[in-house]
Amino acid sequence: MPGIPSFIRKNKNGLVFTAILVLCLLLMMFTNRNVVLQPKKAGQSVFSMVQLSIHAVSNWFTGTVTSIRELKRLRSELADARERLMEYERVSRDVAELRRENRALREQLGVAQNLSFRYISAEVIARDPSNQFSTVMVNRGRMHGLREDMPVIAFQGGLQGLVGRVVLVSLNSSIVQPITDPNSYVAARLQSSRFDGLVAGSQAGEDMLTMSYVKKLAVNEVQYGELVITSGMGRLFPEGIHIGRVREMTAKSYGASLELEVESIVDFSRLEFVYIIDTEQP
């Protein structure tokens, strides 16, 4: 059949194009909806090495250039830290006293002790290369004990803020889905008024979140600037981690619940170091 080879030769471009598109569609169908296959993990492992190297080189350069300025800043910070240490020593004495009192009250009420978890520190090495997905890549993977769905936190402005959860783990790196992602949902609670709700990433982007399903009763009790924390429901995130502060409140007349706009505690543009919480190993 001499027709087929000449047809292939004539339409080489179009045939290769069609073959690639079919392959892409098949791959998407197999790897979509969190059914992530091993090739994706293997690829992530390989290419994150390149990211790690570029991150290390850029760190070395910026570290060298800014070290003198850093030294000056550190000196003034040392003086501040000394002052703060004195203050903390006083607070620490108060806390020890309060802890003793708390333990005694808990014993009386029969409440179990709070569990403390193992924290795995990690450094942010890369972000998503495109603007359509909002992920963060960290330099810890399966070999460091990371597993999927582990909560990730960061310390900023003296508060422990929720960053997100681990969604993809390869050998030496992991991808974290931040709470600002529109597909991230966190069971939350207002710290002072104690109303529950669900925090999701906002389509508006940046560091804004939306807390929905808050009872309308809360309209008179919720304060602007009130802290939103994890409620511990759903068991994915431990209770009491700070999520953000209430910035706006919307009460639609036809709706049964309130919608709150929450500003994340964590400034994601300044995120450098994070801690992954191992909830299974205290």
Binding site: N13, M28, I54, S58, V167, G205
Partner: protein
């Protein structure tokens, strides 16, 4: 190694490097968290210079690398970049590219086209992506960023001999 194969390797290498830079160093110059798509600008340049075969193959290979580094399903970026590379490649040899206007115009169209395809894929395959929802803010920032950078990148890439316009068919 033929000139076409050299051009393919060089263009794929450059686009792959751009993808890695987008995920690391370019975060420092992000505007409201949005980074420029250098990989797309290079792909447009390569495709209109070297034709559909080079464009689609480079687009596919680098799209797969982007998928490895992203939370996107495998094939998502590969699909978008293959389509862009193929379609722009069809215009190879038929366009007069001036130093400023055409690079801007071609890049703006490619960015809008990328947004359209990705929105379609997100909708049809229910991909959990932030996407360019309703062509909102981030898309316009990326569009502006790409448009500003395009003439400079086109001028730089134009200096590379390997990427000179195609003179024979892909072997």
């Amino acid at each position: 190694m033929s000139r076409d194969q050299k051009a393919f390797l060089m263009s794929s290498g450059m686009i792959a490097l751009a993808v890695v830079l987008q995920s690391t160093l370019l975060r420092w110059v992000a505007i409201r968290g949005v980074i420029p798509d250098l990989a797309l600008i290079i792909l447009v340049f390569v495709s209109i210079r070297r034709g559909s075969m080079n464009g689609q193959l480079s687009g596919f290979v680098t799209g797969v690398i982007e998928d490895f580094l992203s939370l996107s399903p495998l094939g998502f970026h590969a699909f978008i970049r293959t389509v862009v590379g193929f379609l722009y490649g069809l215009t190879a040899g038929n366009l007069f590219v001036d130093p400023v206007l055409m690079p801007v115009l071609l890049t703006v169209i490619a960015t809008l086209f990328k947004a359209l395809i990705s929105s379609l894929l997100v909708a049809v395959l229910s991909i959990p992506a932030q996407g360019f929802s309703a062509f909102a803010g981030p898309l316009w920032i990326e569009l502006g960023y790409n448009a500003v950078l395009a003439p400079f990148l086109f001028a730089l890439l134009g200096l590379l001999k390997t990427l000179k316009p195609q003179d024979k068919e892909w072997p």
